[in-house]
């Protein structure tokens, strides 16, 4: 029996054709990755 907490607000993970909510473990790894992510590149308006 799954011990994961399921909600409708969890990020979805896709593995091949299967799409489902992240498990607790996947969510923890995903949040750690996002927290460590590099910033967006520099942005400016189109000069043209």
């Amino acid at each position: 029996m799954s011990m994961d907490t399921e909600t409708n607000n969890r990020p979805k993970i896709q593995i091949d054709d299967l799409i489902r909510e992240m498990t607790d473990e996947e969510l923890a790894a995903y949040e750690a990755l996002q927290a460590d992510a590099s910033p967006l590149p520099n942005t400016t308006s189109d000069p043209s």
């Binding site: 993970i13 992240m22 992510a37 590099s38 967006l40 942005t43």
Partner: protein
């Protein structure tokens, strides 16, 4: 040297077929509003090096598209990027023992192109990456890096650093050995 041009009904010589340099290994459609996509069965001993392209989709917001090997993040990802915008302002950044390669691509809500090569993903050796990314006027650049382990991978994952991915197709091509 002349190259073969095939027509319907032609016999396909082994010498010609074995000279085909790029082979479509896997094609994976991206669903709606997913935070990451893992493509399994992408790498094998058949090819040492691969080209991966995701087009036709979009991100929920302007974001980086990160790449990591397998289905879960770890560490030991190293890399560096150089980018410039259309005002010729340059920017630099690096991944130093990070959980993923950060700059496989950059996209927005209208248009996203992710295009990169992987070297040795299924060999017992470090995996290398070379990516080029395009976010219209804001971020045009290249990224190269490596993963400091000797794991033999069969899958990889894409994940925006914020928001979600929708649509388009991820295609994996093997470069003939």
């Amino acid at each position: 040297m002349t190259y073969p041009v095939f027509a319907t009904g032609d016999v396909l010589p082994a010498s010609d077929m074995n000279a085909i340099g790029l082979w479509l290994v896997k094609s994976q459609a991206v669903g709606s509003g997913v935070s990451s996509v893992t493509v399994t069965g992408a790498f094998s001993s058949s090819f040492d090096n691969y080209k991966i392209v995701w087009t036709g989709g979009a991100l929920s917001t302007t974001a980086l598209v990160q790449v990591y090997m397998g289905a879960s993040t770890a560490s030991q990802y190293y890399g560096g990027r150089v980018s410039v915008n259309t005002s010729a302002t340059a920017a630099f950044a690096a991944d130093n023992n990070a959980g993923a390669w950060s700059f496989a691509g950059v996209g927005n809500v209208d248009w996203t192109v992710v295009s990169f090569e992987l070297y040795n993903p299924n060999r017992a050796d470090e995996t290398g990456i070379h990516a080029q990314y395009f976010e219209r006027t804001n971020a045009l650049g290249i990224y190269t890096g490596y993963l400091a382990n000797s794991t033999q991978y069969t899958s990889f994952s894409l994940a925006p650093n914020t928001g979600t991915m929708t649509g388009g197709t991820i295609r994996v091509y093997g470069y003939r050995n």
